[in-house]
């Protein structure tokens, strides 16, 4: 049953082949059995899950169930969940019980999903390996000595090991797509503004976006149908009609032009990954797509740009964690300054502090113009270059990551090398575009992802392109041996 996709489970529930309660029990049992190895959950909400499953089963009895009713899911611990600890992977919020649901959580709850728990993540989503989590790293189900990616590493590990059929993630610079690639999942980072950010704990407000992490594009489409939409509580969410993302999944790819940014396929790219993408391109050609090379000349600036903008925003976003109203507070502060300094020194981990210092620096008087203002200009340039590319092609294709999942501890003391693992993903956040990573093959038993990027609000096209590929390939069906 755990090898079924969300879509398959939806059908099974509808046909009463299985109850939500049985499903819930099954997945909770798997979490109990496997998660001590994986550390993919920070909080498991078993009691709550059974209660929701009962309600779901009543809906099936009454005939009032929707496609997601009774489906177990997990939320990244960055999304606020009413009455449930929402830690954001940090000691700072280890004692924080959110008093409200994030809008995305609320929507999935209304749709009848059953919440199994909250998944592990890099602290405040700052990291690419899950190693900055206060709760210790989550492990990659394909190789427990390797990272599951980050920051949504708990979600990717849990879905890859089939401890839950699907999970939410959030993506500020690649945090859905990179762990999806490392764990052989489909991960969609929607257009900025497509989903509400209300209740998504802010890392970098102009880049953050939640999204689904699933086994297939079809599963992602089902979740997007519920997660997407304007929210009056988020001024940056956008009034744009939400299509039924499942409708266009099977559209033919005859008229599709796939663009290959030549910068993504330079000599630096791992030849094994290049070979996997070339093979995928052959598949797409067989499906009727045309291929065209394009250029994104400024994309080499994306990493430094990202670390200026994201750090600047987070230095301000995380100022609220001051020990005054909620969250961690240091013991016996002698005065206000001591309270602030020790609360934040003790409550935040090293990587978060690094970025807070970096962000404070780039916004400081005398440096603001040289860093922040300049970064905003280059950001406009990057947006323009994507627009130009999309005048010639429908979607862009490239690798999701420069390598397969790396070893735990391999990069944790080398921030630059860690930052470079997001080299193909950060520009998309800077340009506010939708992008998705899907399984494309394996190197030495480790999954490789490829990334499609599209015009704003064309998530349906991305899911269509991914789904057609998944109809003719079975990379996405592969499950790590020990979790079968």
């Amino acid at each position: 049953m755990h090898n079924a996709t969300l879509s398959e489970l939806s059908v099974a529930l509808k046909n009463k082949k299985i109850s939500s309660k049985e499903l819930t029990a099954h997945f909770l049992a798997r979490i109990k059995k496997y998660d001590p190895d994986l550390n993919s959950f920070i909080t498991v909400t078993a009691e709550n899950a059974y209660r929701q499953a009962d309600i779901a089963d009543t809906h099936y009895k009454k005939g009032s169930a929707g496609p997601l009713t009774g489906i177990p899911i997990a939320h990244k611990d960055i999304l606020c969940t009413n009455g449930i600890k929402t830690s954001c992977g940090s000691k700072m919020l280890d004692n924080f019980i959110a008093p409200y649901d994030a809008s995305v959580v609320h929507a999935l709850h209304q749709a009848g999903t059953v919440l199994l728990g909250k998944t592990n993540m890099d602290e405040f989503a700052m990291g690419s390996s899950n190693e900055t989590s206060f709760y210790g790293p989550s492990k990659n189900p394909w190789d427990l000595t390797r990272v599951p990616g980050g920051s949504s590493g708990g979600s990717s590990a849990a879905v890859a090991a089939r401890l839950v059929p699907a999970a939410t993630g959030s993506d500020t610079g690649g945090s859905i797509r990179q762990p999806a690639a490392f764990c052989n999942l489909t991960g969609l980072k929607p257009t900025y503004g497509r989903l509400s950010r209300y209740g998504l704990i802010a890392f970098a407000s102009s880049l953050d976006q939640a999204g689904p992490m699933t086994q297939t594009a079809e599963d992602a489409a089902l979740l997007m149908n519920v997660m997407a939409g304007f929210d009056e509580k988020d001024s940056t969410s956008i009034h744009e009609p939400v299509p039924d993302y499942t409708h266009s999944l099977n559209d033919a790819l005859q008229d599709l032009t796939i663009g290959l940014p030549k910068e993504y396929f330079s000599a630096d790219l791992d030849p094994n990954i290049a070979a996997i993408i070339e093979a995928a391109l052959k598949q797409y050609e067989r499906l009727g797509a045309r291929i065209k090379t394009v250029s994104l000349p400024s994309c080499h600036l994306a990493i430094p740009l990202y670390y200026i903008i994201a750090s600047a925003e987070c230095s301000s976003n995380l100022a609220r964690y001051d020990g005054i109203r909620y969250g961690y507070r240091c013991a016996n502060p002698v005065d206000l300054r001591d309270l602030y300094e020790r609360t934040r020194a003790e409550g935040f981990g090293k990587e978060v502090k690094r970025r807070l210092i970096m962000g404070t620096y780039v916004l400081s008087a005398g440096y603001y113009d040289a860093y922040y203002v300049k970064a905003q200009k280059i950001r406009s340039l990057i947006i323009q270059e994507f627009e130009q590319a999309f005048q010639q092609v429908d979607v862009l294709l490239g690798p999701t990551t420069p390598s397969t999942a790396f070893k735990l501890g391999e990069k944790v003391n080398n921030p630059i090398s860690m930052y470079l693992s997001d080299i193909y993903t950060v520009a998309i956040n800077l340009a506010c575009l939708p992008a998705l990573s899907i399984p494309a093959g394996f190197i030495d038993g480790l999954p490789v992802g490829m990334q499609f990027i599209a015009r704003p609000f064309t998530e349906a096209k991305l899911l269509n392109v991914a789904h057609r590929y998944q109809q003719v390939t079975d990379w996405h069906k592969k499950i790590p041996e020990r979790f079968k």
Partner: protein, 496 residues
Amino acid sequence: MSDNNKNTANETKDALPLMWEPVIGLEVHVQLSTRSKLFSGSSTTYGADPNTQACHIDLALPGVLPVLNAKAVSMAVQFGLSIEADISSYSVFARKNYFYPDLPKGYQISQYESPIVGRGALNLVLESGEQKSVRIIRAHLEEDAGKSLHEALDDLSGIDLNRAGIPLLEIVSEPDLASPNEAVIYLKTLHTLVCYLGICDGNLQEGSFRCDANVSVRKKGQKKLGARVEVKNLNSFRFVEKAIHYEIKRQIKILEKGGHINQETRLYDSDKQETRPMRSKEDAHDYRYFSDPDLRPVQLTHEYIDILRKTLPELPHKKNQRFQQDYGLSHYDACLLTSHCAVASYFENLVQQKVPAKLAANWIMGELSAALNKANLSIEQSPLSAQRLATLLQRVADKTISNNMAKDIFAALWATKKTVADIIQEQGLQQVTDHYTIIQIIDTVLAANPQQLAEYRSGKNKLYSFFVGQIMKASGGKLNPQQLNDLLKQKLDQPE
């Protein structure tokens, strides 16, 4: 309001040395009278129990986001239009970052590089009657912080976030003001304006209208501005005047001794009536402003601005001119009546009920204002409506009763719910206007005072008022004074 209009002007007028020239600019925080906060749905009602008007957004819980209150935007635009300022069709909210316990997010959402209201001017009428235009640099929207409470909690400080997020319009003037008195006139003019616009309740005690002053002095004729000191905590017109005056004298004293002024922020202590250092330029914060990524830029269309322009209420200076033209009021009367919007509408209400303008003006500024002051009420809270007062003043106008009688009736009208007609009847206060009756009374009085009559007729004119007094006394004050005058003169000057 805590201020007595009459005293402020002269109180601190003692000698500022003539060779020095003060240069003053003001930053005024006007609390906009929206029902909900600038970025959340919490109520803005004053005086609620601590933290009962602070929602998730005001508490800066993880994950919450601000949503701009459209009403606050329209109020800011209305203000801009009223001072004929540039209205930005594109303005941006920025974060001002600093740590303080009553600042829940660790930043204040404000406007920095692109304020919603650009350059404009506020026109003042100085005490001399001279007009002065004070340039306004900008006005921007921002949220208020909460309050730290240090009293009543042993060893602890409390935080009340009811005020956190309340919308403020910060109005910044150029340093165009040349004296403490001008500063106060500027503030009063601005206060009147925002009350007229209905964008502020104008309550100084509750902090709805707060002011910081930038003060420097320079030698007369010198072009370069002196080092500037920002004086904070000025929460009444009187304190503004006193604090600025004190600060100017302090600076002059230092400069005359050959010292130099530190650029710093000082706090006014109203008990000690002095300013004292709060922080120097060196420990000024680096606020690390940057545009708030949670809020989209505010984009205003010409249509939107035009609609607001068309619905702008009549502004104080226009009303003042109209009062002089339409009602023949003096400049002085018109100023007094239009200094407060509610007073002006009370006046117009009286006039609409056919009360002559001058009579209405005199009564508002005389009896009514005295009674209100005594009861410590504003005109909005007056127990005596314009409608009821009009019924009294109509009787004065048609000479049914004298002005003096009306004052007695006023007291009864103020204290009871009786009608003017009832009171007149009850107290028998109807004015006597019948010729025959008046002549009878005159004759009786003259007959009773033959000696005085003889003296008057032999040239002792002063005795005229003696007769008026006696006659009024005899009639119980009910005679129409004009009629009495005419008839008495006839009697006295035409001997039998």
